[in-house]
Symmetry: C2
Subunit: 179 residues, 2 copies
């Protein structure tokens, strides 16, 4: 019989702009005291976006933490009190310049449950119209359209290589195939 861990104490280590860190002292399943580092980050939305020609809309941007340009699905943090669906509309207008008239929930997942709180709400967006807002920063984000049948190849070749994009795009293809 598995037992949850009991938190005995919490020490706040760092409070940053997007990330905060605390160290909790816990009693583990064996009754022993140990510590757990927890990285707190806002929950996010991640969106598989399709245009009328069955292209998936991806964004290429530089990711400082890994020192590379990555090709990802549009995603971003949910503001405090914001509905995830509103966050999808805002992020798509900021990142790709489109407003989606149809949004379906695909599911969701924790980003790094071993040491972080972030949960990603995963959506499928379509029926796109040019947004009222201008894309946030065209110097740092490039929009890339890829025919949906090429997505598995781009994932298997490592061209798309971040967990949320791989998970959300394969989940989208899986849900579509199941219909």
């Amino acid at each position: 019989m598995l037992k949850p861990e009991k938190t005995l104490a919490t020490q706040q280590i760092y409070q940053g702009r997007a990330v905060s860190v605390r160290v909790d002292t816990v009693e583990n399943a064996s009754g022993k005291e140990t510590t757990r580092e927890v990285v707190k980050h806002s929950d996010c939305v991640a969106v598989a976006v399709l245009d009328e020609q069955d292209n998936v809309l991806l964004v290429r941007q530089f990711r400082h933490a890994v020192g590379k340009f990555l090709l990802e699905i549009p995603a971003g943090g949910i503001d405090p009190g914001e509905d995830p669906v509103d966050a999808v509309c805002r992020e798509l207008q900021e990142e790709i310049g489109y407003f989606p008239r149809r949004i379906d929930r695909l599911g969701g997942f924790y980003a790094i449950p071993g040491y972080g709180t972030e949960y990603l709400h995963c959506f499928f967006a379509t029926d796109l119209v040019p947004g009222r807002l201008v894309a946030e920063d065209t110097e740092s984000i490039e929009l890339v359209r890829v025919p949906s049948e090429q997505i598995p190849l781009l994932i298997m070749s490592g061209e798309i290589c971040d967990a949320k994009s791989v998970a959300a795009l394969l989940l989208f293809l899986c849900v579509r195939q199941a219909k």
Copy 2:
């Protein structure tokens, strides 16, 4: 034309057991100075494990950072200097008590490229034999066998809900289907 960011300065914030945090000052694509928080974590292996009866071997464990029991694929950190394949053998013996005689690479992905360094090397392991080591801690990890055809349903229903497990399992099914 997208430009990479240039690191101007680095401030070490926290050096913990599994996680460290630094704040970098960078020149962004528009030439403006800003800061980037970076959570450093060791690279990991994540493994889709199949037995002879086409069951996927999963582990259920309490995840303190999210306050829940999650059903995940076996995974763990790569020790300094350790080959990822050796890490797969070690982790499978520790977490599920089996040694895999066959290991194939599935691909890989960054866990949280927006603010973290962790890269997951993703494998498919099979031809299992009982391991020489005893599973690390049977009080905190429960082994769960699921027929592989049920995996898409467990993901779509949210029963499997962490990014690496969703990504690696769907990637495994995708690669198997492509053969």
